[in-house]
């Protein structure tokens, strides 16, 4: 048994270690993931534990993602790391036109079990090319799954499931989550099925839905709102694609109000999809405004002062929740 607390970083490490231990066919590829320890130190000593299967690549995001597709089409389960999510643009062809398509377009002859792990998000002053949350860019890719857990337990459970899924899965890790910890070290780490939301906090007044670091922010906001007499139900959607609309629907039917919180752009964001889906499903149940909290249409500036004006915070979440309580 492990000692101490389980951090998000450690949970991902444990999941990687577990699946590689369990299955010789699991391979992990990415830039600087061997002795350097990978982005934000997540891969640590994995290369020593699983020699030959932790592969440091050249700086060729398109090339190694494409190679991972070929590798997974020929019998391996591949995990790749894209060092910052912003760089995923360089592998967009391999993900969108290849990985996500091969199973369907080749008539079911092949599978592409490929997990694309990547740290996303801002608040750290990294500037426009190192701070984006781009999960919404991939919502319209048929054949792809998207997961963005917000807790260490979910990170572990969803990553194990992602690796054993037979489809490409985009696995988004927010940089600010790596250091968060579970209160106690869990007795047992378990796989969590993809596509199932989690009620992070039960409540009666407003349904707040979010993913990734947005859940942490929303939880803080919910705690503060409690003091002001507003009882938030917080849903951690965890998997963005497929999206557990049933869970959101059930909650909204109870509270009559909906706020989606995300770090990426509001315009064209995950919230747009959730709001539209809810409006299609249960417009008559709505008892207040449905609102979206996200980033305005501005690149993320390097200045941390400027960045704070752009990215969501608890203040803006609280404001939206209060607004959703009325029709005005």
């Amino acid at each position: 048994m492990q000692k101490g607390k389980l951090s998000y970083r450690k949970a991902i490490y444990n999941a990687l270690d577990h699946v590689m231990e369990r299955d010789e066919k699991v391979v992990f590829m990415g830039e600087d993931i061997t002795e350097y320890g990978g982005a934000f130190g997540v891969s640590s000593d994995l290369c020593r534990k699983h020699p030959g299967r932790v592969i440091a690549t050249p700086i060729s995001e398109g090339g190694f993602t494409g190679a991972a597709v070929g590798l997974s089409m020929t019998g391996y389960r591949v995990i790749i790391e894209i060092m910052f999510m912003d760089f995923i643009t360089l592998a967009a062809d391999q993900i969108i036109n290849h990985a996500a398509n091969v199973h369907y377009m080749y008539g079911g002859q092949v599978k592409c079990p490929l997990v694309i792990r990547t740290p996303a998000g801002g608040y750290r002053g990294y500037g426009p090319s190192h701070s984006k949350s781009m999960e919404n860019f991939f919502m319209s890719v048929p054949g792809l799954k998207i997961v963005a857990p917000s807790t260490a337990l979910d990170a572990y459970g969803c990553l194990v499931s992602a690796v054993y899924d037979n489809n490409p899965v985009l696995f988004v890790e927010h940089k600010l989550l790596y250091n968060i910890e579970e209160d106690a070290y869990p007795k047992r780490l378990e796989a969590i099925p993809l596509g199932k939301a989690r009620v992070a906090r039960a409540g009666a007044d407003v349904t707040v839905v979010s993913h990734s670091y947005g859940v942490q922010l929303s939880m803080e906001a919910a705690k503060e709102l409690e003091k002001e007499g507003v009882d938030v139900e917080l849903i951690d959607i965890r998997t963005l694609k497929p999206l557990d609309m049933a869970a959101i629907e059930a909650s909204v039917k109870k509270t009559g109000r909906l706020v989606y919180v995300e770090e990426g752009d509001t315009f064209g964001g995950i919230g747009s999809e959730v709001v539209s889906g809810i409006v299609e499903r249960c417009l008559p149940y709505l008892d207040g405004r449905v609102l979206r909290v996200g980033k305005p249409e501005v690149p993320i500036p390097a200045s941390m002062v400027a960045e704070r004006f752009i990215l969501p915070d608890t203040g803006r979440i609280k404001e939206a929740v209060k607004k959703s309580l009325s029709w005005k």
């Binding site: 190694f64 190679a67 070929g70 377009m105 008539g107 002859q109 092949v110 599978k111």
Partner: protein, 345 residues
Amino acid sequence: MKAQADEFDIFSTMGDLAGKVEEGQGFDILEMYKTALTIRLFEEKVDWLFARGKLGGTTHLCIGQEAVAVGVMEALRPDDYIVSTHRGHGHLIARGAEITKIFSELLGKREGYCKGRGGTQHLSVMPLNFLGTNGITGGGLPIATGAGLSIKLSGEDRVAVCFFGEGASNQGTFHESLNMASAWDLPVVYVCENNMYAMSTRFTKVSRFDDVALRAAAFGIPSVIVDGMDVVKVAENARTMVHKVREGTGPVLIEAKTYRFCGHSKSDARVYRSREQESEWKDKDPLVKMEATLLEKISHGELEHVRRSVKSMIEDSYTEAERGADPDIKDAMEGVYAEREALIS
């Protein structure tokens, strides 16, 4: 501009090749001819079908380039992987795919290899380890490289063959793939079908040299330039190169100089090249060359018989394919995601 041999001595790395394997020997020209002819007549039929509006989408025929597909496949084992291009019918046929099922796929029928979902540019035949044709120019290069990595990790002596055009060698994926393959000594045989044009674009208009093989040198990848209109030369060189790769010394590149007799795709007036150039190349028709060789051994009558039987096989296959079923809504909508195989903890 032509690279001078003394300026860029790229083929010197060939020096350490273990010499040709079974030089000029062991080729069944008649079999190769039958395959090449099947490709030719298949493509002509496809052309005919397009002209009559019987096929949707577009298509890229490899008429004139048959010797490359046939010669390279000659050198392969059934367990080797193949990654093809948008111009892949020849590769499929040379690999042994069923004509009927290729037609079915082009016709968008349920019985096609990919249930009609892939069509000409997304056609995979996994039982033949044929990982697919590819609609993205240069898209197959990293995939083949990954297949090479797969072989290497499994410690097998298979090879992965990657076809691509000279136009595709201008994509960044070419560079990234060759670099990975050479850095990691992957068993990949890169086969460039250099037909001088990418659509309308003459290679030398968008790159300084005529030869793609030159680009392999930057990665220390041994390469060879072969006459892609001569099936025996292609086959000999392919054998040598494949043999070398199978021994585990890393990737190689074969550049086959060839020519497509037809346009790029179904609608192409070929304004970008001269009729003289075309007829010069048609004089090098690989099938004519094979026929000449064959006629030293068999009679005109026998040859004619071969032609007729291939022709009727193509027609029969098409007729059968045409009788297939169109996909229904379930065929169209299902199968986007693969199922999980077992529960894990």
